[in-house]
Symmetry: D2
Subunit: 134 residues, 4 copies
């Protein structure tokens, strides 16, 4: 029941060591979160134009297990670990075929334009409840 998002590694993602630059995995998993949120019917543009609400990463624990390389086709899997009204903890994995390259535990909150915490959208809380009820 993981959310799945696939992407290709391009030149922009690599560094002189010939592998994906370590900060760019954070871009990959953020793209996956954007598609996961879109799949839940949440319109990030409307949220921002309304209450100025944006998702913000509070904490990230990342393990770099094996490098991704130029031209790799990667898969990002996203699962819910836990949730409260104001925060959600996601587990995200980057794979190339069966090889696990990168894992991250990401704590997400939603803030308004003034930086105050908001309740997460209902669709996210329902998704996480459904996931943990399996």
């Amino acid at each position: 029941m993981s959310h799945r998002f696939s992407l290709r590694v391009y030149y922009e993602d690599t560094d002189l060591a010939g592998i994906v630059y370590y900060a760019n995995y954070l871009k990959f998993i953020e793209r996956a979160r954007s598609e996961w949120v879109r799949g839940l019917g949440i319109d990030q543009v409307a949220l921002k134009q309304g209450a100025g609400a944006v998702f913000v990463v509070r904490r990230l624990e990342a393990d770099y297990l094996s490098p991704a390389r130029f031209d790799d086709q990667l898969l990002v899997e996203t699962d819910c670990e836990a949730t409260t009204p104001a925060r959600i903890i996601l587990m995200q994995r980057v794979l190339r075929d069966d090889a696990l390259l990168f894992t991250a535990r990401v704590i997400l909150v939603m803030l308004d334009a003034a930086g105050r915490p908001l309740r997460l959208p209902a669709a996210i809380r329902q998704w996480s409840n459904a996931a943990s009820a399996e």
Copy 2:
């Protein structure tokens, strides 16, 4: 009388070819423009919070002459080629010691929050007049 800005090439700037990724020269010359604007006493944050004014690149002509590499200390030189009330044409060069690596001709305008053109700040028009009067 060029504006001068120096920078170091880091891992994030390189790609698997072992050289600076071609899009990143645009970051380098934009950093130089930000420091040039600051040096003229223009506060980009205040401009944006006021009329929503931001500098926007309209056209860019870039020549990639020789590659920059990791750890290089680079110099960005910025000069005015021409100006009108609403736009300025800059010549920007990236050098490593005496070697010219990259040149760009950049047409800049200023837009308000609705995307309408604004007159450039007086400090920019004065700088460009002073430069062309030399």
Copy 3:
């Protein structure tokens, strides 16, 4: 007969002006070129591991016509303008639906590991000949 490549705008692509940062269009058109090259049956990884051959942009002329925004679905169209044995000139356009946002004229060459020019792969010269014979 243009090559077509579609992409989504993510958070990483935007800047505080709320639009796509100007350097990131160069990433978008480079992704399109990578897919175009792959579609011609050219393996960039093998080229690099063999003669150390990499594609290099020599010159870029870019016009920023209208901004792309977060969440936009964009299309990159790539066409050949002209070719010689050692260089190809591409026209690349970024569109959102029918709106043309960005155009670039890109001069590409292929260099070996020592930075010496190589002949372009035959598949590229054939593609460009086919394109100009239409």
Copy 4:
């Protein structure tokens, strides 16, 4: 006795939320590590050209405490938490004046071109010993 490195936030670093994009803090602390390594007399270019040795991040724990914004002048402080012959654990902090914005615990190793672990350079082990002997 922390290593200190200062940097400015530019347009490239921000996103549409008006703050520094979360992946870019990893660029900031990597720049600081590059300057720290250079300050120890270690030449990363020579290391790579010799044994193909590169520093690689194995694990990262990052806390995002308060956002950095365009034009901010930031300071990155780097300290050693612990070291073994093959790995070093760094604590890195990003500050704006007295405000702590971001902290990261970074586990670094050195790998050869085949991805095999190497002993860290002696200068790093000596630095970390000196730091922990204080």
